[in-house]
Structures are given as C-alpha cells and as structure tokens.
Symmetry: C2
Subunit: 359 residues, 2 copies
C-alpha cells in the first residue's frame, strides 16, 4: 500500500539523514481513464483524470507541504506560517497537526470566507487577520520567517513546495507507462505547472521516460494575469482556488508552458461551471471548480482542432469537490433533482423509468 | 500504485469471467499511527487511524458499492436504486456515473437535507421524494428491484456490499503485519462491523493472519437501538451518518461484537464532538462526526480500565470531514480562531508568539 511522498519518491527529494519521517499518506492518487468525459471534450482524445482531490486534505497542496514541513522540522522550525485563505492553509495546518507543531495562517482582514478557513481551523491553526491586503500579509510572514528560526514560511515561495509537487508528474508516467502527449491543469499561483515540468524533465533525465508532454495551463478569464500579461487587481472567478491576480511563479509558469510546446490560456466561468458539472456526471469523480478549468480548456482546444485523435491527454483535478459546498449546492441543484412521488411501487416505477432508455 | 478493490482483492471476491472491470480506485486507504491522539485517548495504547475518508466519494461505502455495482452490471442491470439520504447515495451515484448507467435515490419526502444530497445530485443521480417514511421508501425500492432485472438495489441489504467492505480488514492486517488487538468503529446500519468480522475471519482462514481483534462498535446515545435492544423511532445525533433507528444488520453486528470478545456501546453527542475536534488537531486527519464515535468510545474504555497498555488499537474513520460542512463550521469556530492585527512585523510577531512554548 502507498507509503506517502517521502517514502515513495525520496530518491528524487532533498532528503538527508536528519530529515524526519512525516506523512499523511499523500500522493499515490488515481489516474482514471474517462472515456465518457473524453467524448464530451471531443477531438477523439484518450482522456485520463489525475485526481489530486484524493490527497489527505483534499488537494494537491499536500505533496509540496509534506516536503516543506519535513525540511522545516529538520531546520529546527516549530511553527508554520503562511498567508493563504484556501487550500494551502488547510494543508499547512494538517501537517502541523501531524507533526505536533503550531500553524498560523495570515489572511487579509475584512473578507473572511468562513467556509474556506474552517478546514484549517479544524486542524487547529490560529488565524490572524492582518489589516492590509494579501501582499502585505505575505510580506509580513516572509519578514518574520527570515528573522526567527523557529518560524517556517510554507507559502509557495518556499522552494520545497515545488519539489514535492513534481512527484505527481512521476506518478503520471508510471501510471501510463510513458509521459502523456498533453497535460492540462489549472493555473492560479502558477507553481504547479512549473512543478510538473520539473518532474517530467527530471524523470526523463533519470532515464525513466522518453517523452515530454505539452503542458497547457488554464486560468479563469476574471483572474488571468498570465494571459493578459499584467497583474489583475481584483481577480474574480467561481474557481476560488485559482482566484489569484498576482501569481508567485508567473515567469516560470510561462516558460514551462512555452518550452513544452503548450500555452497558458483562459476559460470563462460559464465554461468552468459546465465542465464542473460534466466531470462528476461523466467520470464519477467530484472535483472543485478550479479543477474543471483544464477540462473546459481541453474542450475548447478540441473544438479549435488543436488536439489530435488518439492522443493521450491528462487533466489534473487539483482539488476535491467537497471543498466547495456552496458551488456544490449550485443554486437549486438539489431542488431541481428532486421529484415527489407516492409510496407505491407502480407510481415509483413509472417515475423511475420515465424518459430512460432502459424501460 | 493502488489499483482498486477488485484488482487488489479480487481473489477474495465473487469474481467471474463476466464481472466487468469497474473502479474509482477505492480502498488502499492509509493506516496512520496517531501517538498524540493516543495520549488523548489514554490507557497507553498504540493507536492507529484507518482513514476511509480518503475513498473516492469520501466514505467507506465505496468499497462495497464497487462490488455491488460490478455484480449488478454483470447481471444486466442498467439502473441503480437505493433508499438513502447520505453516504450511500453519493457512492451509488458515483459508480453509476463511472459505469455510464443511471442512479435513482429514494428519500422520504419532507425532510430534504440539501447538503447531504448535493453530492449524489452532482454525480447525476435522480432523487425521488417518496411520500412515506424511510422504511416505505426502502420497501418500494426492494419490490421494484425484484420485479425488474434492469434495476439493481444497492442498499446494504445487497450482500455484495459487505463483500466489498470486508477488504478493509485485509488492509489493516497488511498494514500492521498482523490483526490489531482492538478495532473500534461507528455503528449505524451495522453492516460495517459485520463486514470487518467477515474479513478478519476470512484472512485468518486463508492463513494470512493468526490473531483476531476484539471489535467495539459505537452508536450515538440518541440513535442506539443495538444498545437499547429495540428500534428508536426518532433517532437524533450530530453524527448524521449513524443516525439510524432501525439498523438493517443489527443481529449480525451484535454477534460479531460478541464473538470477537467486544461489544456495541453508546457515546453521547458531547463526547462525539469532543473527539471530533481532537482527531483533527491531534492527528492531521479530518473526519466526519460519526467517525469520532469510536475515538470517543475508546477514550471511555480507557478511562474504565478496559484497554491494556501497549495494545495495538485501530479506530476506523469512516468518512471525510469535508462531507459535513455545517458541523465543520461548528457555530463560531472560525470567528473564535481569528484574531485581528496590524500589518506590521512586530505586531504580528508578538501575536504569533504569544502564549506559545516557542518564543
């Protein structure tokens, strides 16, 4: 059974004799063939979903966090700090709980999204609402971590995060037997596309694969600084996990996309929501809205004739759909799905079989 | 990497040449040593958490559902039916989506818990609100499935469910190298404790283990028919996944507990909520309230001197904490966790380090 990122991929990680054992059994996530969703995407591609929502805290962040936290412990840290309102804070808090150290999450004061912070709070993190914007919160966290060895900054500026995240590329190669032709993923802070590229390059350098995939990153139109070429002051999108106007790793992300022969593109919220619904109904995996961006993007690429039939295409579903209950309930989804009927077999049978191809 | 319940455990399952391949990569869930939570439990035990929340739909139900659905497909079914308002409906809907067939969920009319049904609706299930109580909804589903071969009933009365669920016992033995001394789990419909007992017996019979664990099942005091010895008309508990007054597998569950030298006991909602908070803070795994019942129960057993120091004890965390956002937000958890501070390093530092052992 899977033993976690350090135990499985340690030979590719900066492990020393002093690196403590730490795991919540992150990584080792499924790569699901999704033929019905592939039809929806179009272009005749063979589509696979890398379901990172199955990580311990429900997102890909755990891969990088376990590496960052173990290295921080090795360096003597006893208190994790991050500026985050989303998946990063949950992951940092979970590994702090696992390691028995503290975690503090800095957020900009004034717009506290309770739902997004509940997970970090459950793992016991302390939350500091800083009277300033996100960049100021991050700047303060950075300064503090530099001056106090007991504090470790685990934002994505911590290079250990990408080291851990690159392991997902290794897994994709192992699961397919070779690198795919195309890999598509959401782009927010832009670290993950860089990490995948590092991973595919490193695995090939080690002689464990021969191909390199084209990487396509998808931003939401309302939060697309890398597509627009400038920061977005007020990013807006239903895909909250990629609602970022000033990505930390933008240059590297653009380079990864370009060097691989891919691109960073934008999709609309309407396309994201359509793909969000299609993924669950046509694959059986439920992912958060940001994870639908690459599926929406692939559909657009297929419509534009930019994918080839028979190509092996991987879409990375970065987070679990249960992380975003508000969008899950999506207006009146449940109400629209419910039909009332008498407690009588014939009545229920009629309703059940109505409009189906099975009666 | 893990290949799912059929591929990994098929030799213990009713597989024929005609059984279709079906998987969302369920099973293979972590067994996490939890030394800090063990201290909280007391009694000097060595505590391990079997985290079933890491299954594809976030609960242990996926193990049994993948077996039930594959066998239903083999028998020609093209439409799954279940009476359920919770984790079973989500799991049935997900495997229907994976297999490309339909799923209909029957619920008693009048008390539609939107949050609990959203997951099934996302996977594309149809929801029928039957004008009657749960038992009537189940009776109708049963009658229909008996008379129409294209319909398959996947409630826990379907014996294939337990076949799949027993595989968790195999994994615990593999992960520990031997069966544990004690295994504790929540008891609602009471199928899972029966399935674990089947699994431990079968694995020993196959010569793959030598010991058998004592099994302790925990109900919530407001929904404890097996402890009271009679059905509960209006079951009530915060642990909604075990809010069941008339369990389907009660007799077998009592027999499993008795034969193993264990028992089925009840814990209060207050104890459940205390354990719910402790699990996340002290282990880094976030589980739904029902999953906290066995941890609360073990703590009580330890306080009563009924556990021995050094014993290996497994608590099964049956569902993911993200499944129950309302309890996750728990009144004013986030508000209580948030402190405001100026965007100034010294101010943040003072606040961060206050009251800690690290300054």
């Amino acid at each position: 059974m899977w033993r976690g990122v350090w135990a499985e991929w340690g030979r590719f990680l900066p492990r020393t004799e002093k690196t403590p054992e730490l795991t919540l059994y992150e990584g080792g996530t499924p790569l699901l063939p999704a033929p019905r969703l592939a039809e929806w995407v179009g272009g005749g591609v063979r589509l696979y979903l890398k379901f990172e929502g199955q990580n311990p805290t429900g997102s890909f962040k755990d891969r990088g966090m376990v590496v960052a936290v173990a290295k921080a412990l090795e360096a003597g840290a006893r208190h994790l700090v991050c500026a985050s309102t989303g998946n990063t804070s949950a992951s940092a808090a979970a590994y702090a709980a696992a390691a028995g150290i503290r975690a503090s999450v800095l957020i900009p004061a004034g717009k506290i999204a309770r739902g997004k912070l509940a997970q970090a709070a459950r793992y016991g993190a302390r939350i500091l609402a800083v009277r300033g914007n996100f960049d100021q919160a991050l700047a303060v966290a950075r300064q503090l971590a530099e001056s106090r060895p007991e504090l470790a900054l685990v934002n994505s500026v911590n290079p250990m995060r990408l080291e851990g995240q690159k392991t997902a590329a290794f897994e994709v190669v192992e699961q397919l037997g070779e690198a795919p032709d195309v890999l598509a993923l959401p782009v927010g802070n832009a670290g993950n596309i860089t990490a995948y590229w590092m991973g595919f390059l490193e695995y090939r350098r080690a002689g464990l694969s021969r191909k390199l995939p084209r990487l396509f990153g998808f931003q939401a139109e309302g939060a697309a600084p890398l597509v627009l070429g400038h920061p977005v002051e007020r990013p807006e999108t239903v895909a909250t996990a990629i609602r970022i106007g000033r990505p930390a790793s933008g240059e590297k992300a653009l380079a990864a996309a370009r060097d691989s022969g891919g691109a960073i593109l934008a999709v609309s919220d309407a396309e994201i929501l359509e793909a969000y619904a299609a993924v669950a109904r046509l694959s059986g995996l439920f992912a958060e809205p940001a994870s639908a961006a690459p599926v929406a993007g692939l559909r657009r690429l297929a419509a534009e004739g930019r994918l080839e039939a028979g190509q092996r295409v991987v879409a990375v579903l970065t987070g679990n759909g249960l992380k975003d209950p508000e969008t899950a309930l999506g207006g009146d989804l449940v109400e629209r799905s419910v039909e009332s009927v008498e407690a009588e077999p014939r009545a229920v049978a009629e309703r059940l079989l109505a409009g189906s191809g099975v009666a």
